[in-house]
């Protein structure tokens, strides 16, 4: 005997079936409503991220250039010099590349794997160009005679290492690490560790900008939420004004204010705070980045805080006071805990925006105020190493997701309130 009897509708159809049928239409409607957004996200977000990911680990260049070599290398154990067969297929692959004039790229790529590769390949190229290699006798001996490095097993191992179509090299490079000749992860020498400094600086600046935004935004949001309408509207306009101005204009105006002959420095000199010949540098360093980013990101802190504070009834504070709490106790025990969802939303928003900020640090940051995103842009535009830029972009994205995850563990994303 079954413990629960099925409930039937008046027509005898099981209730569950009937309900599903009734809701199906609504579900389809709902899906169709979100479908454009889904498609949009897919095209503009998911797909580019996927593309970035493949680009960042893509290492098919050598694989495509030396197909025969890698095929014959599969049997080679990599401990001693490879057999004649490998030499021959390498030679054949290289000959094709030389004819297509693509041998230069191979040289550069292999040189990254093992220093000195490019020069020995150039020697090989000269021989190939002049048809000085006799294909009827042992190619291994002929190549080994070109340069003694060809007789070193490390060089052949370097080629073999490039065989897999994917590599994590770019990611390691982003963390100032690399794969050494034995395939182990190693640190680059200390004087070349630039990326780690940038990562730490990015975190530091994002953290401090968040803190400054919070310290300045909280009282503003509180005023906005409690002032009478006519004043709060005016204040709201002041807060939102930056939103209506171009980011570039705002940053440029900070440059006018903060430069050594700028308004702020003039004012300091005028009131005698600093000597005219000893004006402090407030731009092209961290100070500039802090000031400009805090001002630009402030609305993102104020708005979620404001929307949360607006919902807190003033009678709660009054209740706290009438029950005997001093104004501070009433604030700390009642008002503040109720604003935590807004604080969470504001801080997360500002932090995530700050961590990927690009234009402001680029313009006012100088050398000591640039962030990881500036480095990414540098590789996108200057070195054209897109795969490295992609790798760093993805590392940044992962970092943000990790922060989001930690935040979720600590505060709970359900507690976020944006409005």
């Amino acid at each position: 005997m079954s413990s629960e009897t099925k409930i039937l509708t008046t027509d005898g159809v099981p209730l569950e079936v009937s309900l599903k049928k009734a809701e199906k239409r609504n579900k389809i409607k709902a899906f169709l409503l979100v479908a454009p957004l889904l498609l949009f996200l897919l095209i503009t977000y998911i797909f580019p991220i996927g593309e970035m990911f493949t680009r960042s680990i893509d290492d098919r260049m050598v694989t495509n250039m030396l197909p025969k070599t890698f095929a014959s290398m599969e049997k080679w154990d990599g401990k001693e010099l490879p057999p004649e067969e490998v030499y021959r297929s390498f030679y054949e692959d290289y000959k094709i590349l030389a004819e297509k004039k693509e041998h230069g790229k191979l040289g550069q790529r292999l040189n990254k794997e093992k220093n000195g590769f490019n020069s020995i390949l150039k020697r090989l190229f000269r021989k190939v160009k002049r048809n000085q290699i006799d294909e009827t006798v042992s190619i291994k001996e002929q190549i080994n005679k070109i340069h003694r490095n060809f007789t070193k097993v490390e060089y052949w191992q370097a080629i073999k290492r490039t065989a897999p179509p994917y590599t994590i090299n770019k990611y390691l490079k982003g963390m100032d690490m690399y794969l050494d000749e034995d395939g182990n992860v190693a640190q680059v020498s200390e004087d070349r560790r630039i990326h780690r400094i940038l990562w730490l600086r990015t975190l530091e600046i994002a953290l401090f900008v968040t803190i400054f935004c919070f310290l300045m935004g909280y009282p503003i949001a509180h005023l906005l939420a409690t002032l009478p309408m006519k004043y709060s509207n005016l204040l709201m306009i002041c807060v939102l004004l930056p939103f209506w101005t171009s980011l570039l204009v705002r940053t440029a105006s900070w440059m006018i204010l903060l430069q050594q002959q700028g308004l702020v420095n003039d004012f300091f000199v005028m009131i005698g705070l600093v000597a005219d010949n000893n004006r402090p540098e407030m731009m092209y360093n961290k100070v500039g980045t802090y000031v400009a980013m805090t001002q630009i990101l402030l609305p993102f802190m104020v708005l979620p805080l404001y929307s949360v504070m607006k919902t807190i009834s003033p009678s709660l504070m009054r209740a706290g006071k009438s029950l005997g709490g001093t104004p501070f106790v009433a604030f700390w025990k009642i008002y503040f805990p109720l604003t935590i969802p807004g604080i969470g939303a504001g801080c997360l928003l500002v932090f995530i925006l700050a961590i990927g900020y690009y234009i402001t640090p680029a313009l006012v940051g100088g050398a000591s105020g640039t962030l990881i995103s500036n480095q990414i842009a540098f590789h996108m535009k200057q070195t054209l190493d897109w795969s490295f830029a992609s790798a760093m972009g993805l590392m940044l994205l992962t970092g943000v997701l990790v922060i989001y995850w930690i935040y979720n563990k600590l505060v709970g994303v359900d507690n976020i309130k944006l409005g």
């Binding site: 009834s313 009678s315 009054r318 209740a319 006071k321 009438s322 029950l323 005997g324 709490g325 805990p337």
Partner: protein, 361 residues
């Protein structure tokens, strides 16, 4: 133990928000210890402002407020020790019921055991034992209301203020809460100042009622007197239902006066009229006028039924009487029910003592 008749004293209190309009004018009000006093009035009459001044959230523009003989105008709200129940309860949404009740005790640095005891006592007073760990959002409106009452009482304040605490509840719940609050007041003897715009709430709960209008106390008396003997036409109009006649006094004696209406004359009880020729509004409670009265009554007229409205326990009859077509009669649904039909003529009578000649409207 003698009770202080001037436990709370408003002494010539004025209040203005903008320097142009007086919201409260020359308020003179004494509240006795242990009394349940209600400030009743339409919205904007200044009653809530008075409460806020007593709680300390507003300062009087002029005059003093005294609590147990001490001037409290300069004492901040948290040092006044006055409990308050807010209109929308103002329970702290992030705290459990227990934490809400413990809040006033914790800020007073009461020992943990003592807090537990007091919270328990306060919860049993509103019969909410076992709800300690609930969050306010998990409670119904009535339960939230009770928590708010318990929280305002848990620290044994001398005075408890209630600002339209039952406004958000449905009718049945509101009535049962009225009795509950009244019983709590009777059992612990705390002084309660209650603000409402609901006259039936005021009548059922209070020892005394102060009717506010236009920033002034119009009448301060116990519920029965307020209903039976309103001193002016605003109070008569505001409390309960009321039939009015506007006319002119043409003859006046010690306890009777003759009032000339548009085309007839009635006898009335002169309350605020002094001499002949004054304009007056005569007020008569609907239940004081009888159909086909047996006794000899000094006002007897015939009217025509315009409308009969069935109300369950009573029937409301609208008559065309003495030239006005909105004279209301209340007929109880007793077994000896009369046949009341529209456009039927009936005889109506009332005593002149129940017809109060008040100030003209």
């Amino acid at each position: 133990m003698s009770k202080n008749p001037e436990f709370v004293k408003f002494d010539k209190v004025d209040k203005s928000y903008d320097g142009k309009v007086l919201v409260v004018k020359d308020l003179q009000l004494d509240i006795a210890e242990g009394e349940f006093i209600t400030m009743l009035g339409p919205s904007g009459s200044g009653k809530t402002t008075c409460l806020m001044m007593l709680a300390g959230f507003e300062t009087p523009t002029n005059g003093e407020i005294l609590l147990d003989g001490n001037i409290i105008s300069n004492i901040p709200p948290h040092k006044r020790g006055i409990g308050m129940v807010f209109q929308n309860y103002a329970l702290f949404p992030h705290m459990t019921v227990y934490e809400n009740l413990a809040f006033p005790l914790r800020v007073r640095k009461v020992e943990k055991d003592e807090i537990d005891k007091k919270v328990d006592k306060a919860l049993s007073m509103v019969s909410l034992n076992g709800f300690e760990s609930r969050m306010p959002a998990q409670l119904s409106g009535g339960q939230q209301q009770r928590v708010a009452v318990a929280r305002a009482l848990v620290f044994d304040p001398a005075v408890v203020l209630m600002d339209e605490p039952l406004g958000a509840l449905d009718k049945n719940l509101r009535e049962s809460m009225q009795y509950e609050i009244k019983h709590i007041h009777e059992s612990i003897g705390v002084t309660v100042v209650y603000v409402t715009h609901d006259q039936s709430e005021a009548l059922t709960m209070s020892n005394r009622i102060a009717v506010f209008n236009d920033g002034k106390v119009q009448q301060l008396s116990d519920p029965a007197e307020l209903y039976e003997k309103p001193v002016n036409s605003f109070v008569a109009e505001f409390i309960g239902e009321n039939n009015t006649f506007n006319g002119e006094v043409i003859d006046i004696a010690q306890d009777k006066c003759k009032v000339k209406l548009a085309n007839s004359e009635i006898l009335a009880n002169p309350i605020s009229v002094k001499s002949k020729g004054e304009r007056t509004t005569v007020s008569l409670r609907p239940e004081r006028a009888l159909i086909n009265p047996n006794d000899k009554m000094d006002n007897m007229f015939t009217g025509k039924i315009e409308e009969v409205i069935y109300h369950g326990d009573h029937t409301r009859v609208r008559l065309n009487l003495l030239g006005s077509s909105d004279f209301i009669l209340k007929v109880p649904n007793s077994t000896s029910n009369l046949e009341l039909k529209v456009s039927q003529d009936i005889n109506i009578g009332w005593n002149s003592t129940d017809a109060r000649a008040l100030d003209p409207k």
